[in-house]
């Protein structure tokens, strides 16, 4: 493949200068107009601190937030993927009952603000379901190793119920969008594929599993990956129910230190560190599929 050489044009320089000027003006306004004392040197200690007792560097408030965001995102993506696939299959089912269930699910989730859904699930549904599962007593009865394992994978025992409520909320909410993506994927597969596999004697489930879904997933991978990135971003919403993820930790820290700008900027950078690599992966996937088709 031959790379095209790009010539810098006059308009490029103009745009570049304009961008630089805008940024400089913003910085100038913040410094002069906002009466803000920058104290960047105070930020690193909230990421990592030196623990004098153990003589090691350990994570601090903001990094804990980042880890929680990561946990929420990873489990959220898995669960939302499962919900989305099941509901997506239901949505393209021939049976009216399944279509109605999945249709009601998608429409109610997509047409409500996520904040409202989170409050409803956390305060009403979460309370009725979670204690019934007996999660707290189950965890307490486990050995310390198991408890540590659970703390590592999910959350500390005392925050576990809240964590699962948040996780379920996000999975249910994002699952609705993934449902639609999966449905589009399934419906985009041509009738001929169904008919051919039917002619080969495959059952409905075998057709779905071996013929339709693999092709559908190939097509929907880019939008799916995009949805996962938005799940990472949306995880900041659960800060309203006091899950100690990145946004929550950031606002808590601001309350006690008043390093408003520094903390927001640091939090921004941390979110970018999570989402940008995902974005790059999505681009790669798109290029890969474009090539394999062409």
């Amino acid at each position: 493949m031959v790379k095209k050489k790009y010539h810098i044009k006059f308009s490029d320089i103009l745009i570049f200068i304009l961008v630089i000027a805008t940024i400089s003006y913003c910085i100038y306004r913040i410094n002069v107009g906002l009466n803000y004392k920058w104290a960047w040197h105070k930020i690193p200690q909230f990421l990592f601190r030196y623990d004098a007792e153990s003589g090691k560097w350990v994570s601090n408030i903001l990094m804990y937030g980042l880890y929680n965001t990561l946990r929420l995102s990873v489990w959220g993506i898995l669960l939302a993927g499962v919900f989305g696939t099941i509901m997506g299959i239901c949505r393209s089912s021939k049976i009216l009952f399944f279509r109605l269930i999945s249709g009601a699910y998608v429409e109610s989730m997509r047409n409500l603000p996520p904040l409202i859904i989170i409050y409803i699930i956390y305060f009403f549904i979460g309370d009725q379901v979670m204690p019934g599962l007996g999660l707290d007593s189950f965890i307490e009865a486990r050995s310390e190793t198991t408890q540590n394992f659970i703390s590592f994978c999910f959350a500390k025992p005392e925050y576990l119920t809240a964590f699962f409520s948040a996780l379920m909320t996000m999975a249910i909410f994002e699952g609705a969008y993934i449902t639609e993506i999966v449905r589009a994927g399934i419906q985009s597969i041509r009738r001929g594929q169904w008919e051919a596999s039917y002619a080969l004697g495959l059952s409905w489930w075998q057709q779905m599993r071996h013929i339709i879904l693999p092709q559908a997933y190939q097509r929907i991978l880019p939008p799916l990956a995009g949805q996962f990135i938005s799940l990472i971003k949306d995880s900041s919403i659960v800060s309203v129910i006091s899950i100690q993820e990145l946004t929550f930790q950031g606002t808590e820290l601001m309350t006690s230190t008043f390093l408003t700008m520094e903390i927001w900027i640091t939090v921004t950078v941390l979110y970018l560190m999570l989402t940008l690599p995902c974005s790059l992966v999505v681009q790669r996937i798109e290029i890969y599929f474009a090539k394999s088709k062409g």
Binding site: G33, L34, N35, Y36, K42, Q45, F46, R49, D51, N60, I61, Y64, F123, D127, P131, E158, Y159, T161, A162, V240, I241, S242, Q244, F248, T251, E252, L253, M254, T255, S256, T257, F258, L259, T260, M261, I263
Partner: protein
């Protein structure tokens, strides 16, 4: 004869039933549950210096010390559940934690939803003022006019206090302290109304921009909040408050967290 036996059975059943109810009530009380589980879950909300995270991620503050002492006296572990201020009462009602220790005043409206203990402390409602924007403002009454912007944290008692004392001023609500203070520092508002000692301490921290208006907008009793229908817990806490007050524990903590700024180095 038969009738007498029947009546007697009813009477006994009634008595047994009453004993059962008493037992059930005691078993269902929060205090029993806390002792049984060996841990006290306390709902807190970050508010300097009532409850906040230290540099090392530990919870520190006036309310934290209160909760730790309470747990220690009960012989149980303490767990802090940080919650947004607006979420405190709903979370208590839905059992996310056992009690609220968050510098909360038992306003009549709140007391319709949950029960409050006797006050363990009082806090003043004060103002911290932007020097430039509110130049020439000397008293609280000076702020009660159109064109004046006052900030307060959403859901706190600063909101009704401001509406009562400064009905003519424009009131802007924030749910976070950080952005609210920044708004005042930026000169977009005249003052922040908040519970002591925050206004005075803000004025010390940002002494070149802000000043403390040494006039109270009202005094607030601070209580712990518990779920309704639980007289045992309420009685236990009320008794505990009287005891620690007389031990001088509360005064000692007030002196440390409110009158001194020694703790500042713990958080930054």
């Amino acid at each position: 004869m038969n009738i007498i036996v029947l009546i007697m059975i009813f009477c006994f059943a009634g008595a047994v039933f009453a004993v059962d109810v008493q037992k059930e009530l005691r078993k269902a009380s929060t205090i029993e549950k806390v002792i049984r589980n060996g841990k006290l879950r306390v709902g807190i909300s970050t508010f300097v210096p009532w409850a906040m995270q230290s540099k090392t991620g530990e919870w520190i503050g006036f309310e934290i010390d209160m909760a730790k002492k309470l747990a220690q006296d009960m012989g149980v572990k303490v767990e802090f559940i940080p919650t947004k201020w607006e979420g405190l009462i709903p979370s208590l009602l839905t059992g996310k934690f056992d009690l609220i220790i968050a510098g909360m005043m038992g306003t009549p409206q709140r007391a319709l939803k949950i029960n409050f203990t006797a006050p363990y402390d009082f806090s003043e409602m004060n103002m911290v003022v932007n020097k430039k924007v509110a130049a020439g403002f000397k008293t609280v009454a000076d702020f009660n006019k159109a064109g004046v912007t006052v900030l307060a944290r959403n859901g706190t008692t600063a909101v009704p206090a401001t509406k009562r004392v400064l009905p003519k001023a424009k009131l802007l609500l924030f749910s976070e302290n950080g952005p609210m203070v920044q708004e005042l520092l930026n000169g977009k508002a005249h003052a922040i109304v908040s519970s002591s000692p925050e206004p005075a301490q803000l004025a010390i921290k940002f002494s070149d921009t802000l000043f403390f208006l040494d006039e109270s907008l009202g005094k607030e009793p601070i209580s712990m909040g518990v779920r309704k229908g639980d007289p045992d817990t309420l009685a236990y806490l009320n008794n505990w408050i009287v005891v620690v007050k007389n031990q001088g524990f509360i005064q000692e903590k007030v002196n440390y967290w409110w009158k001194s700024m020694k703790w500042r180095s713990l958080i930054e």
